[in-house]
C-alpha cells in the first residue's frame, strides 16, 4: 500500500505548476535564479479540473498499465488549505476509487474510498522513496523537483538547448541526509519557463532518473503555457512512466461537497 496522497499535490505541481507559466515578454538570457524561480512559480492555478489525467506505467518487461483519473482542486475558503480530489475513471474495475487530500503547511490527511468495499478509510503518513501506484514517481522525486529553486545549493550553469529550444540549466545540490538525490539538473525553457527536462543523480553521482517533456505537446493558452506530456524514466530499474494531461479547466467553480470526506467519491461531470 502506498502513500499516494502525498503525490497528489506534487503531481499537480509537476503537471500544472511547472507546465503553466505566464509567458515572459522580454529576453530571458540574463535572468537570475530568483527570477527564473519566480517565473516558474508565479502561476499556480488556484482552482481547476483536469478531466483526463493519465498515468501510464511500463515495466522492464514492456508490460504497461494505464490509469485514468479526474482531478479537481480547490483552496479552502476559511484556511490556507489545499484540497485535491482524484477519481479513477479507468480501468473499469477501479472506477470510483477516489482520494481526497487535505494539505496545509503542517499536516496532510488523506481519505480513500474503495467502491468494492463502500468504505472510506483515513490514512496518515507516507514514504518518500517508494514508487507511487507502481509508477516511476516517488515523493522524493517530486519533492526535489518542487524544491529546485528553494532548497540546497542552487547554481546556474551555462545555458543549453533542448530539442532546439534554448533552456536555462539549473543545478540543485544537497550535501546532507534527508534527500534521496544528491543533485538535480533542470533544463527550463527560456520562452515559457516550463520544465523541459530534469536529471536526478543519486549519492554516488549516478544518473538515476530523467524526467523529460514531450515538447510536441507544448501549448500556449494565452497567457499561459502548457506541456501536456511528460515521461519519467528510471534508468536503473529500466522502467518508465508517461503522464498525460488534457481536458483542463482552469479556475472552474467546483462544489464544496467534492472536497469533503462524505462526498469526494461522488462522480462529477
Amino acid at each position: 500500500m502506498k502513500p499516494y496522497y502525498r503525490l497528489l499535490p506534487t503531481l499537480f505541481s509537476l503537471g500544472l505548476f511547472f507546465n503553466a507559466g505566464i509567458a515572459l515578454a522580454d529576453s530571458n538570457a540574463d535572468k537570475s535564479i530568483q527570477e527564473i524561480a519566480q517565473c516558474m512559480r508565479v502561476n499556480v492555478f488556484e482552482r481547476g479540473a483536469v478531466r483526463d489525467f493519465q498515468i501510464k506505467s511500463t515495466d522492464k518487461e514492456g508490460k504497461s498499465k494505464t490509469i485514468q483519473f479526474k482531478a479537481f482542486w480547490k483552496p479552502s475558503k476559511t484556511s490556507d488549505v489545499i484540497r485535491i480530489t482524484l477519481q479513477v475513471q479507468e480501468p473499469k474495475a477501479l472506477r470510483g476509487t477516489s482520494y481526497l487530500v487535505v494539505k496545509n503547511l503542517d499536516s496532510e490527511k488523506l481519505y480513500l474510498y474503495l467502491p468494492a468495499l463502500r468504505k472510506v478509510r483515513t490514512l496518515q503518513g507516507g514514504e518518500d522513496s517508494q514508487k507511487l501506484w507502481g509508477s516511476d514517481f516517488s515523493i522524493a522525486d517530486i519533492k526535489q523537483l518542487q524544491g529546485l529553486m528553494i532548497e540546497g545549493v542552487v547554481k546556474r550553469l551555462p545555458d543549453e538547448t533542448i530539442e532546439g529550444r534554448p533552456a536555462y540549466l539549473i543545478e540543485t545540490s544537497h550535501s546532507g541526509t534527508g534527500h534521496f538525490y544528491r543533485k538535480v539538473r533542470s533544463y527550463i525553457d527560456q520562452q515559457s519557463c516550463l520544465l523541459l527536462k530534469s536529471e536526478l543523480f543519486t549519492a554516488d553521482d549516478t544518473l538515476s532518473k530523467v524526467l523529460k517533456a514531450d515538447i510536441s505537446t507544448l501549448l500556449e493558452i494565452d497567457p499561459w503555457w502548457l506541456i501536456q506530456g511528460y515521461r519519467m524514466s528510471d534508468l536503473r530499474a529500466g522502467t518508465r512512466t508517461d503522464l498525460w494531461l488534457s481536458d483542463i479547466f482552469i479556475n472552474e467553480r467546483l462544489p464544496e461537497s467534492l472536497f469533503t470526506p462524505e462526498g469526494f467519491y461522488i462522480e462529477q461531470e
Binding site: M1, P3, S64, L112, R121, T122, G126, K131, L132
Partner: protein, 938 residues
C-alpha cells in the same frame, strides 16, 4: 628399434626446447597483462558455473529477476535483547541508512525504512519513522504491536521473538560478477560491523556474500595452494631421487602445461569457477605421474646400457615409453571427454580443459622431457643410492608374493569389488554451499545465526505464469495460492513463506477493517486493493498487469540432500493446483539442488563411458578385445573402490567428489598401461607371463610408488585450505591414491600374471627369429602380416618326449612346424627300426598329408617338443578367408614336396643294392614324411 620419430626427437632436442620456449612465452603474454600488472583470467564463483539450466529455464529465470527483482539480497541481522527499545530502533535506523548510502546498493528493506501500513487509532498509518520519533517509547510500543502480527514484517524483517531485526540489502546490479568486482558484499559487512557493540551482535549472510567469500578464497588459494603443493612435490622429489634433474624436469613440465592450460582459459575467455579450479591439481597429478615413469625408465636404460650415446639413450627411452605415454594420454582424454555427457557447464569445461592439459602433458612428456634429459645426463653412481637395494629386495619379495598368492589376491580383490559396489549403492548425493566453509568461520556462524533467528536463509521461489492479465486477482486462484503457502510453511525444511495472498490479506484487513486475515470474495475488491497498494514491495510478488505472481520461500536447510526431498514433495503438491497456471521452481537452492542431482545422476553414465573408451584404447594397444577387457579390470576395480569408499565414509557425491573420480581414472589408466606395456614387452621377450609380471612390477613399482607418495603428500597440503571442498578433495584424493597404489602392487601383477598375452606369433618369433618367413620354408614369401595371420590360425601343441606324432599308414592331412624340441622320422620294417631323419625347430613335418596320401613313416618326439599344427579345417578356413595366403602356402608345400622328391631320389641311389626296394617309397607310396632342413637356423 627406435623409429624415425624417436630418432628425430633425439636429434632435435634444441629445436624442441626452443619451440617450447616460444610457445610458453606466447602463453605468458596471453595470460599476463604486463601493462596493468594483472592476470587476464577471471574467477567466476557464481552458481551459474555449477548450474544446469536449459536455455529456456535460464531465460525464464532472467524473466523472473526482471519482473520481481533480484531475490537474493545480502541479509544483515542485528541481534539484541529487544529490537523495539528506542535505542535499538535508532541503531537499526542508523544501520539501515548507512547501508542504503553504500555505492552499488539499490535499496534497503528494514523495519525503520520500509513503511508498511500499520493501524493507529483506527487509521492506516504510513508515517515515516524518523530518528526523533524512534526516541519516543510510545511509538516504539505501537511499532511492536503493529508489526509482530504483520506477516510482511514478522519473520521477514523482525524475528518473531523481537530479538533480532534484519536489513535486506538489494544490490543495484543482478550481475554476480559485477557485484563481486565492486566488493559490495564485504563493504556491506564492514559497514554493518560498525554498529556492533556491547549487547549488539551483527551477522551477515546471503548469496552475494557467500559467493564473494568463495571468490576471494579461490583467488587466494590459486595464489598460495598451488605453489605450496608444488613446493611439497619438489622437496619430496629431491628426497626420493636426490637429483636436481629429477626435481626440475617434472616441475618444469607441469609448469609449462599449467601455463598453457591457463592461457587457453584466457584465450577462450572462460573464467575459473568452483569446478574448473580443480584443473590445476589434476595437471600436477598427471604431470608428475607421466614424468616419473619416463625419468625412471631413462635411469634404467642408462644403467642397463651406459655406453650408449645421449641420442641413443633418448631414442631408446622414446621407444620404450612413447606408446604407453600416448595410450595413457589418449585413454585419459577419452575418459575425461566422457564427462562432457554431463549437463553441467562447469563440468564440461573441467573435462575439456583437463583433456587439453592432458594433451599438453602428453606432448611435453614425449618432446620436452626427453629433450631436457638429453642435456641432463645422469651422474654415474659408483654405489647405488641408499635404499635402492632394499627397494629391489622388496620388489622381488612382492613379486613372488603376488605370484604365489595370486588366487588369494584375486579373491580378496573380488570381495573388495563386490563390497565397493554395495557401499557405492549407499552414496548420498548432496552439496552445501555454506558447507564449503569451516564450521568456525565467521560466514558460517553468521549464516547459522540468521537461519535460526529469521527462520531460513536459503531462497527458493515459485513463479506462476497466468497467461493473461488480471489472473491473480481471481479470489479462487488466490485462495489456492494461500492454501499452497500454508502447506509450504508446514514443511520442516521451510523457515518462511511470503506471497501475494499475504499482501491481499493484509490489505483486506486494513482497508476493509476485517478482524482476521482473509482473501476478499470480490475480484473488484482485490483489484482495487492491489491498485492502492501498488509499489516495489508488492511488485516483488505480483507483476504490473497481475498476469504473473511469485511465492518467496526461505529454507532452513542448505544441504541439497535435504532440499531435494522437499522439492520432490513440492512438485507433487503443485500438481493439485488448478490447470492453466504455468509454474516454475527457481532460486539458488533449487538451482544448486537440481544441478547436483543432474551432475551426479549422469555420473554412472560418464564412468561407464569412460571405462568403455579406456577398454577400446587398451584393446587397440594390444590388438585384442579380450586382453583389452582384462586390462580394463584393474581400472574398474579402482573406480569401484573409490565409489565404495564414498559410500563407506559417508562422503556425498557432489561435483568435487565426482572430479576426484576423474583423477582416479586418470592415474589408474596411467599405472595400468605402463604396467601392461612393460608386461607385454617382457612377456614377448621371455615368452613367459610369470616372468613378465615380475619384470613389469620391477619396472613400474618405483615410479608408481614415488608418484603416489609424492602426490599423497601434495594433496594432503590441501587440507589446510579454507574451503571444505578443497580439503575434501585433498584427503579424498590422498586416500584414493593410497588404495589405487595397493591395487597397483598387489592386484594388477596378480591379475596380469595369469593373462595369456604371449601369442603363438610371439612364440614363433621368439624361437624362430623375428622374420619367421626366412626360417620356416612353409612361410617363405609371406609378408609379416600374412605370416602372422597364418600362424594365428594354427594351434600350438606341446608334446613330451617319446610321444608318437605320426603313425605310418594313417590317413591324416595335418602338417606340423616344429617350434622347439626334436623329432625322429622312422620306419619299422619287421624288426628293423630305420631312422630316416631327425628334425628340429623350423622344420615341416607331415606335408604328405596335404596330398591325401597315407603316412609313409612314423614320427616320434625325441625331447619335449612344441609344434604348430595345421589341420584340414585350418587349411579350408585359410582358402576361404585368405586365398592369396593359401596359394602361397600350397606353393611352399609343393616346394617342400619337390625337395622331398629330390631327397627321395638321393636316398634311392644311396639304398640301391643295400636295402629291400619294398622298404623304400614306391610309385604307390611316392613320398614319406620327412624333413626339409631349413637353410638357416636361428
Amino acid at each position: 628399434m627406435p623409429n624415425r620419430f624417436h630418432r628425430w626427437i633425439a636429434e632435435h632436442s634444441i629445436a624442441v626446447l626452443m619451440a617450447t620456449l616460444i610457445l610458453s612465452l606466447l602463453a605468458l603474454l596471453q595470460l599476463f597483462d604486463f601493462q596493468n600488472a594483472r592476470l587476464r583470467l577471471s574467477i567466476d564463483p557464481s552458481l551459474d558455473a555449477i548450474s544446469i539450466l536449459t536455455p529456456q529455464e535460464r531465460k525464464f529465470d532472467s524473466l523472473v529477476r526482471l519482473r520481481f527483482g533480484n531475490r537474493e539480497p545480502v541479509m544483515v541481522m542485528m541481534q539484541v535483547d529487544d529490537v523495539f527499545l528506542p535505542k535499538n530502533l535508532q541503531r537499526l535506523d542508523r544501520l539501515s541508512h548507512d547501508l542504503q548510502q553504500l555505492d552499488g546498493v539499490k535499496s534497503v528493506d528494514s523495519l525503520t525504512l520500509t513503511r508498511l501500513p500499520r493501524i493507529e487509532r483506527n487509521d492506516l498509518n504510513y508515517s515515516p519513522l524518523t530518528p526523533t520519533s524512534l526516541q519516543d517509547p510510545q511509538i516504539a510500543r505501537e511499532l511492536r504491536h503493529s508489526t509482530l502480527d504483520n506477516p510482511l514484517i514478522a519473520g521477514q524483517l523482525v524475528s518473531r521473538d523481537g530479538s533480532a531485526a534484519v536489513v535486506l540489502v538489494h544490490p543495484a546490479s543482478s550481475d554476480e560478477l559485477e557485484i563481486l568486482h565492486s566488493d559490495l558484499a564485504r563493504r556491506i559487512r564492514q559497514t554493518a560491523d560498525r554498529q556492533a557493540g556491547p549487547g549488539v551482535r551483527i551477522h551477515v549472510t546471503g548469496a552475494p556474500l557467500i559467493r564473494s567469500e568463495i571468490s576471494h578464497t579461490l583467488t587466494s588459494q590459486m595464489k598460495t595452494m598451488i605453489p605450496a603443493i608444488m613446493l611439497v612435490i619438489a622437496v619430496l622429489l629431491a628426497l626420493v631421487f636426490r637429483s636436481l634433474r629429477a626435481v626440475l624436469i617434472p616441475l618444469l613440465t607441469i609448469c609449462v602445461a599449467m601455463l598453457w592450460v591457463l592461457a587457453s582459459f584466457s584465450v577462450a575467455a572462460i573464467p575459473i569457477n568452483l569446478v574448473t579450479a580443480l584443473t590445476p591439481p589434476f595437471i600436477i597429478t598427471m604431470g608428475l605421474a607421466y614424468c616419473a615413469h619416463v625419468i625412471s625408465e631413462y635411469e634404467q636404460i642408462h644403467r642397463r646400457e651406459p655406453a650408449l650415446s645421449a641420442q641413443k639413450h633418448i631414442a631408446s627411452l622414446l621407444q620404450e615409453t612413447s606408446i604407453p605415454v600416448m595410450v595413457t594420454g589418449l585413454a585419459t582424454i577419452a575418459g575425461l571427454l566422457a564427462l562432457t555427457l554431463n549437463e553441467q557447464r562447469s563440468m564440461i569445461e573441467f573435462a575439456a580443459f583437463s583433456a587439453l592439459g592432458t594433451l599438453f602433458l602428453m606432448l611435453l612428456t614425449l618432446l620436452l622431457v626427453p629433450s631436457l634429459l638429453y642435456f641432463c645426463k645422469p651422474r654415474r653412481r659408483d654405489q647405488p643410492l641408499a635404499g635402492e637395494a632394499m627397494l629391489d629386495q622388496a620388489i622381488d619379495t612382492l613379486s613372488k608374493f603376488d605370484q604365489q598368492h595370486r588366487k588369494q589376491i584375486l579373491w580378496v580383490a573380488l570381495i573388495v569389488f563386490a563390497g565397493s559396489l554395495l557401499y557405492a549403492a549407499q552414496i548420498r548425493i548432496g552439496e552445501q554451499l555454506i558447507g564449503l566453509f569451516p564450521e568456525n568461520s565467521r560466514i558460517r556462524i553468521d549464516h547459522a545465526a540468521i537461519n535460526q533467528k529469521m527462520g531460513g536463509v536459503n531462497p527458493v521461489y515459485l513463479a506462476f505464469e497466468g497467461g493473461a492479465e488480471d489472473v491473480f486477482t481471481d479470489p479462487n486462484i488466490l485462495q489456492q495460492l494461500d492454501q499452497l503457502e500454508k502447506w509450504v510453511s508446514q514443511q520442516p525444511e521451510v523457515g518462511s513463506v511470503l506471497g501475494l495472498a499475504d499482501h491481499v490479506k493484509l490489505l483486506n484487513r486494513y482497508l476493509a477493517a476485517e478482524a482476521s486475515f482473509a482473501i476478499p470474495a470480490s475480484r473488484d475488491a482485490i483489484r482495487q486493493m492491489l491498485f492502492v497498494g501498488d509499489g516495489e514491495w508488492q511488485r516483488s510478488v505480483v507483476n504490473i498487469d497481475r498476469s504473473a505472481s511469485l511465492i518467496q520461500i526461505r529454507l532452513r536447510v542448505d544441504d541439497t540432500a535435504r532440499i531435494a526431498p522437499f522439492l520432490d514433495r513440492l512438485q507433487l503438491r503443485l500438481k493439485q493446483l488448478p490447470g492453466g497456471l504455468e509454474i516454475h521452481l527457481g532460486g539458488g537452492a533449487v538451482i544448486m539442488t537440481e544441478s547436483v542431482r543432474k551432475a551426479t545422476s549422469g555420473q554412472l553414465m560418464s564412468v561407464a563411458l569412460a571405462l568403455l573408451l579406456i577398454y577400446l584404447c587398451l584393446s587397440l594397444q594390444f590388438l585384442s578385445f579380450k586382453i583389452g577387457l582384462l586390462a580394463t579390470l584393474p581400472t574398474a576395480l579402482q573406480t569401484a573402490l573409490y565409489f565404495g569408499m564414498l559410500g563407506l565414509l559417508g562422503v556425498s557425491l557432489n561435483p568435487t567428489s565426482v572430479l576426484v573420480e576423474t583423477l582416479v581414472l586418470g592415474l589408474a589408466i596411467d599405472d595400468t598401461i605402463h604396467y601392461l606395456s612393460r608386461f607385454a614387452s617382457a612377456a614377448k621377450r621371455s615368452g613367459s607371463e610369470t616372468i613378465a609380471a615380475q619384470r613389469a612390477l620391477q619396472s613400474v613399482l618405483r615410479p608408481v610408488t614415488v608418484t603416489k607418495t609424492i602426490l599423497i603428500a601434495g594433496f594432503l597440503t590441501m587440507l589446510s585450505g579454507d574451503l571444505s571442498s578443497q580439503a575434501l578433495f585433498g584427503w579424498l584424493a590422498a586416500l584414493t591414491l593410497f588404495c589405487t597404489w595397493l591395487v597397483d602392487i598387489f592386484v594388477t601383477p596378480a591379475f596380469m600374471s595369469g593373462l595369456r598375452i604371449v601369442t603363438l606369433w610371439d612364440t614363433l618369433r621368439l624361437n624362430l627369429g623375428a622374420q619367421v618367413q626366412k626360417t620356416i620354408p612353409l612361410f617363405r614369401g609371406l609378408s609379416d602380416r600374412q605370416s602372422r595371420i597364418f600362424a594365428l590360425m594354427a594351434n600350438l601343441h606341446t608334446l613330451p618326449s617319446g610321444t608318437r606324432l605320426i603313425t605310418e599308414g594313417d590317413e591324416s592331412g595335418d602338417i606340423y612346424v616344429i617350434i622347439d624340441g626334436e623329432v625322429t622320422v622312422f620306419k619299422d620294417i619287421g624288426d628293423d627300426h630305420i631312422e630316416l631323419a631327425r628334425m628340429q625347430r623350423g622344420d615341416v613335418v607331415g606335408e604328405i598329408g596335404y596330398f591325401g596320401q597315407r603316412r609313409s613313416a612314423s614320427v616320434d618326439t625325441v625331447s619335449e617338443t612344441r609344434l604348430l599344427r595345421f589341420d584340414d579345417e585350418d587349411k579350408e578356413r585359410l582358402c576361404r578367408a585368405y586365398p592369396s595366403i593359401a596359394a602361397r602356402i600350397f606353393l611352399n608345400l609343393n616346394r617342400v614336396q619337390a625337395q622331398r622328391q629330390a631327397e627321395r631320389n638321393g636316398l634311392i641311389e644311396k639304398f640301391n643294392g643295400k636295402a629291400q626296394p619294398s622298404a623304400l617309397p614306391d610309385e604307390k607310396n611316392p613320398s614319406f614324411d620327412s624333413s626339409l632342413h631349413s637353410p638357416a637356423k636361428p
